[in-house]
């Protein structure tokens, strides 16, 4: 059901964009009095903790932004929301933004989102196998069933790279699309041989006796940028001042979050239901203020080799700020 929806949603989003080049909602002009209301579409996961923390710390209100965070169930609902003007900004993973860019969806990154820790075995995402699995290395994944949350996206691209690095043949992997929350159960019941999970499911699998056999983000690039905040190009052209203030506030939030992991763990309780024990132990992503351009080039190359972008090549210059 979700897989079907994700596919239809992205198709519908593209159709809507092609049909009208950004829809009709009028941007409310900057009001002279009082802060400007800004709505951001986010996914209720660990990666977006800095924006919640930054809101709490007043980094946005200090810049005249009255921030409202709306949680959507994945990027597929966020991109259309940004294009229709329901959200001024959105949060999405990089590969999805690249796919959008190659289809001429008018979006552009305005700030960094989240990045890999760069530490193999201690990243916030990884390839895991269940308890007592005979698979010990990524090379052994050839010909096996591996769960990813979305096919033809950042998950399968980076997992293939892990297998390649370990000396296996990535061509024979059968990727299966399963939402992150369902992966621990899929692994336990043997529906898949391995799964690419992120926190908090990574902690859940480890607690159930599973092991991390590869850190697919660090195998792809040393400091892989995973996700970013983006806006429609129309807003960027019409209100550069607002976009600038938002970018500043996000960057302050990212730096603050990176320096205060305990506060990050605390703020998680405000928008997720991750238990206290898991919150205390889970591996947080890194939140650098800058997008790592080299890692994006690597991701783009790998994606192109996998055929994710069709015949197109993402134009990173058009996507990056």
């Amino acid at each position: 059901m979700r897989r079907f929806l994700a596919a239809v949603l992205s198709a519908a989003a593209l159709a809507a964009v092609a049909a009208c080049g950004g829809t009709s909602s009028e941007e409310p002009g900057t009001t002279e009095s009082g802060p400007r209301k800004v709505t951001v579409g986010v996914i209720p996961i660990v990666d977006v903790a800095p924006i919640y923390l930054g809101k709490e710390k007043g980094f946005f209100s200090a810049r005249g932004i009255d921030l409202e965070l709306v949680t959507a169930q994945g990027g597929a609902a966020i991109v259309p929301g940004v294009l229709s003007g329901d959200f001024q900004f959105g949060f999405s993973n990089i590969t999805s933004l690249m796919i959008a860019q190659t289809k001429n969806v008018p979006v552009k990154i305005v700030a960094n989102g989240a990045a890999s820790t760069g530490v193999p075995g201690k990243d916030f995402g990884g390839v895991v196998v269940g308890k007592d699995s005979p698979i010990a290395t990524a090379a052994a994944l050839a010909g096996r069933k591996v769960a990813v949350n979305t096919l033809k996206n950042i998950g399968d691209t980076t997992v293939r790279e892990s297998v390649r690095k370990a000396g296996g043949d990535p061509g024979g992997i059968q990727f299966v699309e399963i939402p992150f929350p369902d992966m621990p159960a899929a692994l336990e019941s043997g529906q898949v041989d391995a799964a690419w999970v992120v926190e908090p499911q990574l902690s859940a699998v480890k607690a159930a006796g599973g092991t991390v056999i590869a850190s697919n983000f660090t195998d792809t690039a040393p400091n892989l940028t995973i996700a970013a905040y983006f806006a429609g190009t129309k807003l960027i052209a019409d209100d550069p001042d607002l976009v600038g203030r938002f970018t500043e506030a996000i960057e302050e939030s990212l730096a603050y979050a990176d320096a205060h992991p305990d506060e990050v763990r605390a703020v998680l309780s405000s928008y997720t239901k991750i238990s206290e024990e898991v919150r205390a132990a889970l591996i947080l992503p890194k939140w650098p203020t800058e997008v790592d351009r080299a890692s994006l080039e690597r991701l783009s190359e790998l994606g192109r080799a996998d055929g994710i972008f069709g015949d197109a090549t993402p134009d990173l210059a058009a996507l990056l700020p």
Binding site: L9, A13, V70, Q73, A77, A185, K273
Partner: protein
């Protein structure tokens, strides 16, 4: 009446007991279906959380607004289409074509149009509940006794008076059935929209609990939506009995 209630409660107690025993006996992994006691504790936690009550309010708001829109549109259009034979023939095939389309199939469209907003939820709710109302109203109008209608006409009642005195009383039991069905369907679509799109409400809270791996909370919220469904059904039946207290179906029920 009291017997129905006690039987119902006994059934519920049996269900809760099963839910407690099955995971503890290891028939299903307790990590994915916690025992009833754990769900109850999580439910207690929910009840003390302000965010839970906000979510409940959001869901009820979508339900009430959606049901009101669907019911008024269904009744108005149903009476109009039912009363004008030409309209009925013109619309019959279209209604039969549109009616079975599941509301969730519209999710991609409403996401593009309205994003994760109340409007998205309302479109889904109204689309699903409207057909329940419309079709019942059409049946109701068709059920009008031609002799009664002719008699009213012979006594010189105008179109408006005939609608009030002949058509409406005949259609009312059908309208009430439609309303009861629409109320349940509206709740389902409300929660589904929240769950899939992420519109604020109980459904979105279920999705967050799921992505956080908070399994007991997940089931506690599911229990809440189930109880909401029961409450809505009980309420709808009460409204129905009140509105139809003159009708033989209800008078018969009371006499027993």
């Amino acid at each position: 009446m009291s017997r129905t209630w006690s039987y119902g409660l006994a059934g519920l107690a049996g269900f809760v007991a099963l839910l407690e025993v099955i995971p503890r006996a290891g028939l299903v992994p307790a990590g994915y279906l916690p025992p009833a006691a754990e769900i109850a504790v999580a439910l207690g936690g929910e009840l003390t959380d302000v965010a839970f009550w906000v979510a409940l309010r959001d869901t009820l708001q979508g339900w009430v607004l959606g049901l009101l829109l669907a019911a008024s549109a269904g009744i108005a259009l149903g009476l109009l289409i039912g009363a004008v034979p030409v309209l009925r023939e013109l619309t019959a095939s279209t209604i039969e074509f549109l009616r079975p389309i599941p509301s969730v199939a519209l999710i991609p469209l409403v996401v593009v149009l309205y994003g994760a907003s109340l409007q998205s939820k309302l479109v889904l709710v109204v689309y699903a509940a409207f057909w329940q109302m419309l079709v019942q109203v059409l049946y109701g109008v068709r059920d009008v006794d031609p002799v009664a209608d002719e008699t009213a006409r012979a006594y010189g009642l105008g179109r408006g008076a005939r609608i009030v005195h002949v058509l409406w009383p005949t259609a009312l039991p059908y309208v009430m059935t439609g309303l009861r069905l629409a109320a349940a369907v509206a709740l389902i679509l409300c929660v589904t929209g929240e769950l899939v799109i992420g519109v604020p409400g109980l459904g979105a809270r279920i999705a967050v609990a799921q992505s956080s791996g908070a399994v007991p909370d997940l089931y506690a919220l599911i229990v809440v939506t189930g109880l909401l469904g029961v409450a809505i059904n009980v309420g709808a039946r009460a409204v129905e009995r009140h509105a139809l207290r003159w009708h033989q179906s209800v008078r018969g029920e009371v006499a027993v």
